[in-house]
C-alpha cells in the first residue's frame, strides 16, 4: 500500500483550503468609511472638486478643444468660424452659422462637463455638515459656489436644466427644472448664502485668491445670475460688493493683453480662473494636458500653412479657426481709435501683420520695401485664408511662451475678470436708471485707451463697450440672447464667407497686397443656416442625454 501514500498526500494537500490565498488587498485606495471625516478630508475632497471643475470646464474628457469656449464664443456676429476651407472643423463652423444639430460634440460634451463639476462639488457638500469647523464650512461653501456657477451657465445655455443638489445614483433620471429664472435665482441665492463662510481675496496682489472661490467670486457669480434673471437691482447689490471690496483692479492699459497670457495668471483683474499646473514633474498625460485648452491654441492661431511665416513671438502653427469680422474690427477702430491699447491687443490689420510684427527674416534687417516682397511673411499660398476679411485675431492667440512642450497652453482658464463685473454693474445701473454705473463704464473705457469716453450712462453705450471689451470672452452670444437682439444680429450668419488672399501669391505680383474673395457655400448647397427665432435661443439637450433620460423635455424647436 506504500505506493498509495504519495497520491493520497498530494490529494490531501491539494484539497486543503487555499481560500485565504484569495484575499488580495486593493492598492492605492482607502475605504470610504475612513474618509470624509476630518478637516483635512474636507480640504482633500475640495481639491478633487477643483480638479473636476478643471476637467469639466476647461475641456471635458473626450473633446480636444474647449467646448465651453466653443458654445459661448462661436455663435457671434463678431467672428467668422474659419479654418482651411468650407467644411473644415465643421462642427465648430456649424455653431457660428447655426447649422448644428443635437449630436454636436461641443454641446454634448459641455453639458456633461457642467454636471461633472456639480458631481465633484456635491461630494463635498453631501459628506460634510456646516457647523463643525471653520475649515469644513469654507470647503462646503467653495463647493456650493462651483456648483452654482455650473448651474447658472447651464440655465443660460439650456434654459431648464435639472438642478442637481446632491450626489445622484446611476439609476436617477432627473427632469427639467421649473424655469430658467428659477435656476438662476437658486444659483444666486446659493452664492450669497455660501459667501459668508468664504475667504476674501487678501489684496489685488493675491494670486492664490484668484484661482479659488472667494467672496468676490461668489458675489460676482450671484450678480451675473441675477442679471440674467433680469433682476437688475438685486444684481447691482451683489456686484457692488465686489467693486467695493477693493480687492480687484483693472490692469493698466499697456498690460491689457496680459490678461490672456501666462504673465497675467492670477493678476489683479481676475475674479476667478482655473489654475493650470506648472509642475513639470507631472507628466503631460497625467492630468496636465487634460486640464488645458489643448488643441484650442492650434485651432485659434493663424493658419500657418498659408503664410510665409508667423510672427516669432506667437506660437507658430495653427488652423486659423477664428477671424474677426471686418464690421467688428472697423467698429472697434472707429470707437477706440487705431492706437488704443485695446485695439492693438485685440486684432491687427493686414499691414500690421506684414510690417509691424517680428519675423525670422528680420535678421536680414529688411526695409519696408524688402518686407513688401518678402516671401517669408504674409499670405504666400494662392488659396488664401478662408474666413478672413483682412483683419487678424490677436487677443487670444497663444504666445510662444504660453505653450508647454510645443503642444498645449499653460494659460489659466479664465472664468471671469473684473472688467466684466464693472460692465455688468454698469448695465444693471443703466437698466435701472442709476447713474452710479457711469464711473465704472468710464473706468473700462479709459483703461482701454479708447477715444470714446461716455458722458452719460446709456444702455447702448454699455452694450457697445461690452461688445468691444469682452470680445471672444464668451459674453456676446448670451448677451444678444438676453437683450433680444440675437435674431437681428445673427440671422444672416453663414450667408457668405470671405477668403482673404494676397496678390503676391495669386498673381505673383511681387508685392504683398490683400484682397477679399466671397463665397456662399451654405447658400449654394441650400443648407439651412443662420439664427432661427424659436429654436436657437437655447441649445438642445444633447442626443446622448435625451436618448437615455426620458424625464428631460427637449427645448423648443428641437
Amino acid at each position: 500500500m506504500k505506493k498509495y501514500i504519495i497520491p493520497i498526500l498530494l490529494l490531501t494537500l491539494g484539497l486543503s483550503s487555499c481560500e485565504k490565498l484569495l484575499e488580495i488587498d486593493q492598492k492605492g485606495v482607502i475605504s470610504t468609511d475612513s474618509f470624509y471625516q476630518t478637516d483635512a478630508d474636507a480640504e482633500s475632497a475640495l481639491v478633487a472638486a477643483y480638479e473636476n471643475a478643471s476637467y469639466g470646464l476647461v475641456r471635458h474628457n473626450d473633446y480636444i478643444y474647449s467646448p465651453y469656449n466653443a458654445l459661448l464664443t462661436y455663435p457671434s456676429d463678431d467672428i467668422y468660424a474659419a479654418g482651411a476651407f468650407y467644411g473644415d472643423n465643421d462642427f465648430l463652423a456649424a455653431l457660428t452659422e447655426f447649422r448644428y444639430d443635437i449630436n454636436n460634440q461641443a454641446i454634448s460634451n459641455q453639458y456633461k462637463g457642467f454636471y461633472k463639476v456639480i458631481y465633484g462639488a456635491n461630494l463635498v457638500i453631501d459628506n460634510f455638515e456646516y457647523g463643525t469647523s471653520a475649515v469644513k464650512d469654507r470647503c462646503i461653501s467653495e463647493a456650493r459656489v462651483l456648483r452654482a456657477f455650473s448651474h447658472m451657465m447651464l440655465a443660460i445655455l439650456w434654459g431648464t436644466p435639472p438642478i442637481v443638489d446632491h450626489v445622484l445614483t446611476g439609476a436617477d433620471r432627473p427632469g427639467n427644472s421649473e424655469s430658467q429664472e428659477a435656476v438662476l435665482r437658486w444659483c444666486a441665492q446659493e452664492c450669497i448664502d455660501a459667501a459668508k463662510y468664504l475667504d476674501e481675496r487678501q489684496s489685488t496682489g493675491d494670486k492664490p485668491g484668484a484661482v479659488k472661490i472667494t467672496k468676490g467670486a461668489a458675489y460676482a457669480f450671484a450678480g451675473k445670475a441675477l442679471m440674467f434673471a433680469k433682476d437688475y437691482s438685486a444684481a447691482k447689490t451683489e456686484l457692488k460688493k465686489v467693486i467695493s471690496s477693493g480687492k480687484y483692479a483693472l490692469v493698466p492699459g499697456n498690460r491689457i493683453g496680459e490678461n490672456f497670457h501666462v504673465p497675467g495668471d492670477g493678476n489683479e483683474e481676475k475674479i476667478f480662473e482655473l489654475n493650470h499646473v506648472y509642475n513639470s514633474n507631472i507628466g503631460t498625460w497625467s492630468g496636465r494636458i487634460q486640464r488645458s485648452t489643448w488643441m484650442q491654441i492650434n485651432l485659434w492661431n493663424w493658419r500657418a500653412d498659408r503664410l510665409g511665416g508667423t510672427p516669432t513671438h506667437l506660437f507658430g502653427g495653427g488652423w486659423g479657426m477664428i477671424h474677426p469680422t471686418a464690421a467688428f474690427a472697423e467698429a472697434l477702430i472707429a470707437n477706440d481709435g487705431l492706437d488704443s491699447y485695446r485695439r492693438k491687443a485685440w486684432l491687427l490689420t493686414y499691414d500690421e501683420v506684414l510690417y509691424d510684427m517680428p519675423y525670422l527674416s528680420d535678421s536680414d534687417n529688411p526695409t519696408r520695401e524688402d518686407k513688401e516682397k518678402d516671401p517669408r511673411r504674409g499670405i504666400v499660398e494662392p488659396v488664401g485664408l478662408y474666413g478672413c476679411e483682412g483683419y487678424f485675431h490677436l487677443k487670444m492667440i497663444a504666445h510662444a511662451d504660453d505653450v508647454i512642450q510645443g503642444s498645449y497652453s499653460d494659460v489659466n482658464f479664465l472664468i471671469m475678470r473684473y472688467a466684466e463685473v464693472l460692465l455688468m454693474y454698469a448695465e444693471c445701473c443703466a437698466q435701472t436708471n442709476d447713474n452710479d454705473g457711469l464711473q465704472y463704464l468710464n473706468m473700462v473705457q479709459q483703461r482701454a485707451g479708447s477715444q470714446t469716453i461716455s458722458t452719460a450712462l446709456t444702455l447702448d453705450a454699455v452694450k457697445k463697450e461690452k461688445q468691444f471689451e469682452m470680445w471672444m470672452e464668451g459674453c456676446r452670444f448670451i448677451d444678444l440672447l438676453r437683450w433680444g437682439e440675437a435674431a437681428a444680429k445673427l440671422a444672416s450668419n453663414g450667408d457668405s464667407i470671405p477668403t482673404f488672399k494676397d496678390k503676391f501669391a495669386t498673381e505673383s505680383s511681387g508685392k504683398h497686397e490683400g484682397f477679399v474673395d466671397w463665397s456662399a457655400s451654405n447658400v449654394n448647397q441650400g443648407k439651412e443656416h443662420g439664427f432661427k427665432t424659436g429654436k436657437h435661443e437655447l441649445y438642445p439637450f444633447p442626443f446622448s442625454e435625451i436618448s437615455i433620460n426620458e424625464n428631460i423635455v427637449q427645448n423648443p424647436g428641437w
Binding site: 500500500m1 484539497l15 487555499c18 485606495v29 481639491v47 478633487a48 467644411g87 446611476g170 492650434n298 433620460n549
Partner: protein
C-alpha cells in the same frame, strides 16, 4: 489515509452497483481470485461475470481480488476497459489468477475533454476536433489563425493581418458586450494560456473546441465562451530510436485586395462637384497632373521565412518530441517597420518510471519581437493615411524647392521634416490630414515590442490500481516583455506634428502557476462502464511591471541612436519623467467532478459539476463562489438490436445527443469593480499660480456596485452524428441555444449624474445556431480524395437590458457622422445604427433619408439598424486529392450576411480621398438615375454618411490555400537516408471574392469589440505565394 481512499472507492462501487440494480448473490459454489495485468499489477474494478447468467457478477477490489458464488460448470467473463476480455472456464478450480492483456488495437478515435479523454462515440457534448493534418504546411504561424474554416461554429476574427497580429477566436457567437470577455478559454496540454499565438501550428497534434455548455462546464466560470483544448505533438511508441525532421517554407507576400479609391481625375471631378475644389484653386496650388495610387506606393512584395527542425521518438516506456521553429515575417509595408520574428521550441517528453508512475513535461519556449505600423484610427494612422491621402500629391518632394511653403518654413525653423533617400515625404498641399503622409506615420517613431515566455507543465500520473489514474499537474508560465518607444519631434502639417521627444520603456514580467490534482477512475459493471473524475485546481497569476516615460523639448543627453533610452534623460526643467509600477496578483480555487456512464455502447450519460472561487479583486468575499452544473446524454442507435437490420453499407453509425449546462464568464471582472473605495490622493489642484506645488485630493473611485457578479451562460444543445456508406460519408449536425445573462454593462448614467460610467449586471444575450459538418472520403486504387465542408448559422440578439437603459452606445463613427454602434434589446450585439438611405431624388440629386417615425423631420429619431458586423453564416470547405506521391489541397472559407461600415469620407475634412464607388454612382445632370446623391448635396451631410449608403455587404469567400505537393518515392530517397521528402507550392489567401470596395473585407474592422465591421483602416490580409519542403530522416 488508505482507509479513506478505500472508503471512497467502496462508495463509488456501491453507487455503481445500485445503478444496475442487482448485486451478486449466493450460488452453489464459491470461487475467488485476482485479476492482474501483464506486469503483475492488480486490476481493480474489473468485472467478473458468469457467462450466460449476467446477473451473477462482481467487481475486483483495490488489490484486484474477487470472490463469487457460481453455478457449477460455468465460465467467467473477465473484462476491464482498455484490456481484451477473457473467458475463463471454472472447472474444478476455486482460486484463479487471471492476467488481462492490454488491448492495443486502436478501436476508436479519442477526443480530449477537460481533465481526460473520451472515446469519440461516447461524447455527449458538442466537440469539434481539428487534427494535425489540417494544421501542417500552412503559411500562418498562428495556431488560432489555423483554426479558421476548419470547425463549424468557431469563428476566427482577423482584425488585422499585420505580422505578429494574433487572430481572435469566437465560439458560438458573441455572448458579451465587453471586449475582454469574448474569447474562449485556451488550454494547451493542460496549461491555461493567455494566447496561442506562440504556438506554431505544425507543433499541434489536435485542437478540440468544446462548444456546448456541458462539455465546457468542467471549466466553470471561465468557460462561458467555449474552451479550446490543444494537444501538442508527442513521439510514438513504435518510432523506436526516433526521427529527425526539417520543414522549410518561403513565402512571398503582396497586397491582396486593393482598395477601390478615387484616382486623380475622379478625385478632382468629385471635389469640384462637392464645391470644395475649383479649377482655379488647382491652378493656384500648382497641380501638375500627379496621380498617385497610394496602395501601390506604400506596399511592396515581402518575404517570410520559416524553418522548423525537430526530433521525435519513443518506446514502450517513454516518448519525446522536441522541435525548434524560427519565423521571420516581414510585412508588405515598404521598409522594415512591420516585422514579426519568433523563435520557439517545444519539448515534450514522458516516461514510465514505474508501472504505476508516469512523469512527463510539456514545455514551450518562445522568444518574439514585433514592430508594426498604425491602423484602426482616423486620427493619424498609416492605414487610414493610405486610404484617404489625396491622389494629387506625389509620394516625395525630391528637394527643398519642391516643399510647400509651410514645410519650408518649418524646415528653415529647424523642424524635422521626414523623408528618405528619395526626398522628403510629400505632405499634401490640397488636404491637411491627420496622417500627413503614410510614411510619416510609419517613420515618426521607433517602437519595438519583444519578449520571452516559457510555458510548461510537469505532471505525474499515478496508476495505483487499474483504471484509476491520479494526476498531479503543475503548470506554469513565466513571461517577460519589453516595449520601447522613441518618438522625436517632427513636422508634417499642423495636425501631424510633434514638438517634443517621448521616450518610453515598459518592462513586464510575471509568473503564473496552476496546480491541479485530479483522479480519473473507470470500471465496468456488467455492460455498464463508469468513468468518474474529481479534482481541484488552484491558480495564481503574479505580474510585475515598470513603465517609464520621459519627454520634453530637449530631454536627452544626446540624440544618437545609442542615447535613445531613459537612462540618458537629462534634468532640464522641461524634461518630465514619469514612472508607474505596481504588482498585480489574481488567484482562483476550483473543485470539479464528472460522472460518465455508458451502457453497452448504446447509452451515455454524463454529469459535470464545478465550483469556482475568485479572489477579492474580482468579487467580494461573500459572493466569491459560483457553481456550474451540466448534464448530457447520447444514444447510439446503430448499436440497438432493432437497428441491426440496417446494412452498415447504408448507415454505419448514428448517434443522437443532447446537453444542458451552465458556464460563467469571469473575464469581464477585474480591478475591484464592486468596491466602494476612495482613490487616495489621486486628484490634485495647484492653488498658487506662482508655485508649482500641488495640493492632493481624494474622491470615490467610481460609482460602486457591491452586487456585481460574473456573466452566466445557460446553453442547451442537441446533435446528431451519422456515418453512411461504410463510413465514406459522415455528417454532424448541432442545434444550440445559449442565453447569457448578467452581462456587465458599463452604462453611462444620465449626464446629470456627473460620472462617466458605472458598471451593472444588466444585460442578456441569446445566441442560437445550427452547425453542420459534412465529410466525404473515398479512394480508388492509388487515388484518394476527401471533401470536407462545415457551416455555421448564427442568430445573435440582445434579449434584455436593464429597463433604465434603452440602448448602450458603442463606438461613434468619426467626427461628422451621425451614427454609432448600439447594444439594444431585439438586435444583434453592437449593431450599426444610423439612417435608412432610400436612394436619390432623381430631380435634384439629393439623398432621400427615410423619415421612419413620420414626423416630417429627419433627425436621430429616425435612426434604425442599418447593418451588423456579425455574419449570419460562416463556412469552410476543404478538398484533398492524393495520387501516388502527389497531393493537392484546396481550402477556402467565407462569411455571409455581415456588413461593413466604410469610413473613408470625412464630413469635417472634405479633402480626404474616399471610395470611387461614391463618385462612380453619383447623381449628375447627365446621370439622373444614379444610386448615390450628387456630391454637392452630401459633402457635409452627416445624415447621409451616417446612413445605410455607407454600409456595404461584407460577405466574402477567400481561397485560403491551393497547395500542390509531391512526395518523392521512398525507394529513391532512402538511398540518401531520407525516409520522407515532400516538396510543395501553395497560393495562400490568394483569391478573395467580395463586393466590398474598400481594402480587405476580412480585416475591415475597427479592432474594437463594440464596432465589428467599422472600417477605419486595417492591415489587410496578404496574398502569399509559398514554396516549402518537408524532410524526415
Amino acid at each position: 489515509m488508505t482507509k479513506q481512499l478505500l472508503f471512497v472507492v467502496k462508495i463509488v462501487l456501491i453507487f455503481a452497483a445500485c445503478l444496475t440494480g442487482i448485486n451478486s448473490y449466493a450460488q452453489s459454489r464459491a470461487v475467488s481470485g485476482k485479476v492482474i495485468d501483464a506486469s503483475g499489477a492488480p486490476i481493480a474494478g474489473a468485472s467478473v461475470i458468469v457467462v450466460g447468467n449476467e446477473s451473477i457478477y462482481t467487481v475486483t477490489d483495490l488489490d484486484g481480488n474477487f470472490a463469487l458464488e457460481v453455478p457449477a460448470g460455468a465460465n467467467l467473463n473477465v473484462s476491464f476497459i482498455g484490456y481484451q476480455q477473457q473467458v475463463v472456464p471454472i472447472g474444478n478450480r476455486t482460486v484463479f489468477e487471471i492476467t488481462l492483456i492490454e488491448d492495443t488495437e486502436v478501436l476508436e478515435e479519442v477526443v480530449v475533454v477537460g481533465y481526460g479523454v473520451q472515446r469519440k462515440s461516447d461524447v455527449t457534448g458538442s466537440v469539434s476536433s481539428v487534427k494535425a493534418e489540417d494544421l501542417t504546411n500552412r503559411s500562418t504561424s498562428d495556431a488560432a489563425n489555423a483554426l479558421q474554416g476548419k470547425a463549424a461554429g468557431v469563428q476566427i476574427l482577423n482584425y488585422s493581418a499585420a505580422p505578429g497580429a494574433g487572430s481572435q477566436i469566437r465560439v458560438r457567437g458573441y455572448s458579451s458586450n465587453s471586449s475582454s470577455g469574448l474569447g474562449p478559454l485556451l488550454i494547451v496540454d493542460g496549461l491555461q494560456v493567455d494566447n496561442i499565438q506562440y504556438l506554431d501550428p505544425q507543433m499541434i497534434e489536435s485542437m478540440e473546441v468544446l462548444k456546448d455548455a456541458a462539455s465546457a462546464a468542467i471549466y466553470g466560470a471561465q468557460a462561458g465562451n467555449g474552451v479550446v483544448l490543444i494537444t501538442t505533438k508527442t513521439g510514438k511508441k513504435e518510432m523506436g530510436a526516433g526521427q529527425v525532421f526539417y520543414n522549410f517554407q518561403n513565402v512571398w507576400n503582396s497586397l491582396g485586395k486593393a482598395p477601390e479609391i478615387m484616382n486623380a481625375a475622379q478625385y478632382i471631378d468629385y471635389k469640384i462637384a462637392e464645391g470644395v475644389l475649383t479649377q482655379q484653386r488647382l491652378n493656384e496650388l500648382g497641380y501638375d497632373g500627379t496621380d498617385t495610387n497610394w496602395a501601390k506606393e506604400v506596399f511592396t512584395t515581402s518575404l517570410t521565412k520559416r524553418h522548423t527542425v525537430g526530433f521525435m521518438g519513443g518506446n514502450n516506456r517513454g516518448q519525446y518530441y522536441t522541435a525548434l521553429s524560427y519565423v521571420n515575417d516581414d510585412g508588405i509595408v515598404k521598409g522594415d517597420k512591420d516585422v514579426y520574428e519568433r523563435l520557439s521550441a517545444q519539448i515534450n517528453a514522458d516516461y514510465k518510471i514505474k508501472d504505476w508512475l508516469t512523469v512527463g513535461t510539456n514545455t514551450s519556449i518562445e522568444k518574439w519581437k514585433t514592430r508594426s505600423v498604425s491602423q484602426h484610427t482616423e486620427y493619424g494612422s498609416f492605414m487610414m493615411g493610405t486610404l484617404t491621402q489625396d491622389p494629387l500629391t506625389p509620394v516625395y518632394f525630391p528637394t527643398y524647392n519642391d516643399l510647400t511653403q509651410d514645410l519650408k518654413n518649418h524646415y528653415d525653423a529647424g523642424d524635422n521634416i521626414l523623408g528618405d533617400e528619395n526626398g522628403f515625404y510629400a505632405v499634401s498641399r490640397y488636404a491637411e490630414t491627420d496622417s500627413g503622409h503614410p510614411f510619416v506615420q510609419r517613420d515618426k517613431e521607433d517602437v519595438e515590442n519583444q519578449g520571452i515566455s516559457i510555458r510548461g507543465t510537469l505532471f505525474a500520473n499515478l496508476t495505483p490500481i487499474k483504471g484509476l489514474t491520479i494526476t498531479s499537474r503543475f503548470g506554469y508560465r513565466i513571461y517577460q516583455s519589453y516595449y520601447t518607444r522613441y518618438a522625436p519631434p517632427y513636422y508634417a502639417n499642423s495636425m501631424a506634428y510633434k514638438t517634443n521627444y517621448d521616450i518610453q520603456a515598459r518592462a513586464n514580467h510575471g509568473y503564473y502557476y496552476q496546480w491541479e490534482n485530479f483522479a480519473n477512475y473507470s470500471f465496468n459493471v456488467q455492460k455498464n462502464t463508469f468513468t468518474l473524475m474529481g479534482g481541484m485546481s488552484y491558480i495564481q497569476n503574479n505580474s510585475f511591471g515598470v513603465d517609464g516615460t520621459g519627454s520634453g523639448p530637449d530631454p536627452l543627453q544626446g540624440y544618437a541612436p545609442n542615447f535613445r533610452y531613459l537612462s540618458y534623460l537629462n534634468n532640464n526643467p522641461e524634461t518630465s519623467k514619469n514612472v508607474t509600477s505596481s504588482p498585480g496578483v489574481s488567484a482562483n480555487l476550483s473543485y470539479f467532478g464528472r460522472i460518465h456512464w455508458n451502457y453497452a455502447d448504446k447509452y451515455n450519460i454524463q454529469v459535470n459539476f464545478r465550483a469556482d472561487a475568485y479572489d477579492s479583486s474580482k468579487l467580494p468575499i461573500d459572493a466569491r463562489w459560483g457553481y456550474f452544473p451540466s448534464v448530457s446524454a447520447g444514444w447510439v442507435l446503430t448499436n440497438e438490436s432493432f437497428m441491426q437490420g440496417i446494412s452498415k453499407e447504408a448507415l454505419s453509425f448514428l448517434k443522437i445527443r443532447g446537453s444542458w449546462g451552465v458556464n460563467g464568464n469571469i473575464a469581464v471582472l477585474s480591478n475591484y469593480p464592486y468596491a466602494t473605495t476612495i482613490s487616495y490622493n489621486a486628484n490634485y489642484y495647484q492653488f498658487d499660480p506662482a508655485s508649482p506645488n500641488v495640493s492632493y485630493g481624494s474622491s470615490p473611485s467610481g460609482l460602486a456596485n457591491p452586487n456585481l457578479t460574473w456573466e452566466t451562460s445557460v446553453q442547451w444543445n442537441v446533435g446528431l452524428e451519422a456515418r453512411f456508406l461504410n463510413d465514406r460519408l459522415s455528417l454532424g449536425v448541432d442545434y444550440y441555444e445559449k442565453t447569457t445573462k448578467d452581462l456587465l454593462v458599463s452604462i453611462s448614467p444620465v449626464a446629470e449624474v456627473g460620472v462617466g460610467s458605472s458598471t451593472i449586471n444588466a444585460g442578456e444575450v441569446e445566441n442560437k445556431g445550427v452547425e453542420l459538418e459534412l465529410e466525404w472520403k473515398d479512394s480508388r486504387g492509388d487515388f484518394s480524395y476527401s471533401v470536407n465542408a462545415n457551416m455555421a448559422y448564427l442568430n445573435n440578439k440582445v434579449t434584455f437590458l436593464d429597463p433604465t437603459i434603452s440602448r448602450i452606445t458603442g463606438m461613434s463613427a468619426p467626427q461628422g457622422y451621425e451614427t454609432f454602434s448600439a447594444f439594444e434589446v431585439g438586435y444583434p450585439v453592437w449593431y450599426m445604427r444610423g439612417y435608412q438611405y432610400e436612394g436619390v431624388d432623381s430631380a435634384t440629386g439629393k439623398p432621400i433619408i427615410a423619415d421612419l417615425n413620420g414626423d416630417g423631420q429627419i433627425n436621430n429619431l429616425d435612426h434604425t439598424m442599418i447593418g451588423c458586423g456579425i455574419p449570419d453564416l460562416t463556412y469552410g470547405l476543404t478538398i484533398k486529392l492524393a495520387w501516388k506521391g502527389i497531393d493537392f489541397t484546396l481550402f477556402g472559407t467565407g462569411t455571409y450576411g455581415n456588413e461593413i461600415f466604410a469610413i473613408h469620407h470625412r464630413t469635417d475634412r472634405l479633402f480626404y480621398n474616399s471610395l470611387e464607388y461614391f463618385h462612380k454612382n453619383a447623381w449628375t445632370e447627365s446621370n439622373k438615375n444614379a444610386s448615390m446623391p450628387s456630391a454637392i448635396s452630401v459633402a457635409t451631410d452627416a445624415q447621409f454618411w451616417g446612413s445605410s449608403a455607407s454600409i456595404f455587404d461584407g460577405s466574402y469567400f477567400k481561397i485560403k490555400q491551393i497547395q500542390l505537393g509531391y512526395t518523392l518515392p521512398r525507394n529513391w530517397t532512402k538511398k540518401i537516408l531520407v525516409s520522407n521528402l515532400r516538396i510543395y507550392a501553395s497560393l495562400d489567401d490568394y483569391f478573395t471574392f467580395s463586393k466590398y470596395p474598400g481594402m480587405d473585407p476580412e480585416t475591415a474592422h475597427s479592432g474594437a469589440a463594440n464596432s465589428m465591421g467599422y472600417d477605419k483602416g486595417s492591415y489587410p490580409t496578404r496574398k502569399k505565394a509559398v514554396i516549402g519542403i518537408n524532410i524526415a530522416f
